[in-house]
Amino acid sequence: MTKKKLSLLSLALVMMLSVVLAGCGDKKENNASSGKEQNAVQNDGTIDVSKLDPVTLKLYLIGPNQKDLPKVQEEINKYVTEKINAKDDITMIDWGDYSQRIQVITSSGDDYDIAFTSSWAFDYLPNAAKGAFMPLNDLLDQYGKGIKEVLDPRFLEGTKVNGVNYGIPANKELAQQYVWRFNKKYVDKYNLDISNVTTLKDLEPLLKTIKENESSDITPLAVPKSFKPYLPVDFLLGDEIPIGMYLDTDDFKFINLLETPELKDALGTIRSYYKAGYLREDVATLDGIDNMKTGKWLVDREITQPYAELGWSRSAGYDIITRPMHDPVIYTSSAAGSMLAISSYSKNPERAMMFLNLLNTDVYLRNLIQYGMEDVHYKKLEEPYIEDLPAMQDSYAMPGFALGNMFLTYLHDGEPKDKWDAFEKFNSSATVAPTFGFNFDTAPVKTEVASVTNVAKEFIPSLYTGSVDPDEYLPKAIQKFKDAGIDKVIAEAQKQFDAWKAEQK
């Protein structure tokens, strides 16, 4: 046989096998019995369990696997069977593996029911656009009434993609606010006045004092390479990509932030700080910084939430105080910080929604899934306080923010009783960003977005941390972003935004 014939033969073989395989993969029945589910919902909104067939819901959640999960799951199942005649099969996928693994699982057509999604892991937007999730609006109306009652409506508003909801955001802090965190030790030692500090420029005298009076191993401005000077803008694709719209915009135009006077000014300031030695010399390559652990720092930058100082001080072991850089703002991305979505492969979307409804309204279930079993993993103190037992840290430490309504969860000793009220106040006091609710579909410009992302990784950390001279590198960066097609991305975003805006009226 000649080589040509052989390769043809093997090609044919591949085709044949693919067909066989395709046959195997397709054997999937779709016998969703939504009729029964519909009947089970009674007029007062409660569910008549006797009308439901037993089902098992498959969940993929983010976070390290916990030793006691099977035990707790059994407990959850008892309760959920009682409520909606369903069982849970929970799989935890660790932080660093989550996006990649769930991406493969989803693409392969695995018929799971519920998965964690967000703006930072298993990215909500592109996957919703790709069709990974089930549209939830009708399901919400029928089986998720509780969710609509407890959730700040802006959560659902902000996570719509083309008018459709694909995920249930967790009720937590909705607004985003950056603060300067100060190490109180040094603030007190030099009697520094931080009451007037808001901008990067305001820090100058404080940083100078520390630099001049303390030894060189104290970092005055302790930030890693992800540091960004605060800009009053609404970012289109996260703060790494310099495209945004002014928060107080009148004309609703996306702009290239590198060309704004605010940024140029801020870069000049940070450059002077870098040269003065206020930052770590290697800040541009510093992934993380362990200032909290060492305590050798004056100020850094962090996102806050109500009573965050308490938590920070407690985990650091010394006092930390903060000054806000701006008023809290609600962005589209902050609404999508933690969500649970129903897979479009789910065979029981109705029951999945009922379960999500429970997670957002049922105090017992919500605390069970996060804190485990009473007297095994925690001890109940006076309502609503609990005390962790050693078993919690060892074998059931779940990431609470990724498991539905946080406002239902118990508090720990030392936390103020009005913690969740304060969250609600924080959320309602916040202003809403101009593009809130607008979700940019990157598909038409994905080539450009990928290229722009690459350029951003090359220039943004070194520019924004002052590691390079902005006079030389800013023009270079602007040119490179233009070559990568940033203008095309801006134009496409503007086009989509204008269409969206017109629809809103």
Binding site: G25, S99, P126, A443, N454, S467, D483
Partner: protein, 309 residues
Amino acid sequence: MSAFFKKVIRNRALLVMILPGTIWFLIFAYLPMFGTVLAFKDFRISRDGFFASVINSEWVGFKNFEYLFSTNDAYIITRNTILYNLFFIFLGLIIAVTFAIMLSELVNKKMAKVYQTGMFLPHFLSWVIISYFAFTFLSMDKGTLNQIITFFGGDKISWYSEPKYWPFILVLVGIWKGVGYNSVVYLASLTGIDKSYYEAAVIDGATKWKQIRYITIPLLKPLMIILTILAIGGIFRSDFGLFYQLPKDSGALYPVTNVIDTFVYRGLINMGDIGMSTAAGLYQSLVGLVLILLANYIVRKIERDHAIF
């Protein structure tokens, strides 16, 4: 067709032998190969499973490949990928063979064994760990190298933002990590060489150098050629960790550290676009195929026996 069957019967023993491997190839290599079509599709998920998704996704031609060539960086990443790999292939070959020969000639065989074990160690360290280690040398304020430089009155060097040093650092570390592994391959083949060749050579009065030149190297040549041709096929792929972790993903170093793999990773990590990543893989495979065939063709012209195909 009966001629074909006769042939099958004639070769039945060897066919039975080759069967298990063939089954493996069919299931684990050929079955998944249909996924390659994704490179030409805009992958959208449809409710009826993966195959329905593949079939229902729209054909987009070469759109998924555009990203690879859309910017001026296309030239830089291609150049970097090829140049670094050429260094690794040829410098790595020379060093590995040299070490293998030196190891085999050492008088104290016990020491040779110790060396061999030691040289192997870097193979087990992940790039993350090696990048920590490199950092202790190159760190701006605490790094050993800067301490030495300042001791002799020089100025500190900001290693992670000076591109000019990195081609050297990358080649050095890349070869360092792989050379122990490769020497063992050559050493295994080397010790398999029939001792009587050397005995004859000694009787003929050949020096050690002559023996190496006229016996050892020619006998190692087939292996060297095979490994080199195969390495050339992988010239469009690079060791991701070396180019990503070691320079600590420092933007200032991109002109000299950006290779196809890091470029694809940085651009696509957040998007999770199967189509575009398949396209990138296909592009690398195709260029690899062309290069393998080319290298094989050249070898064939020069020395027919040593060609792979």
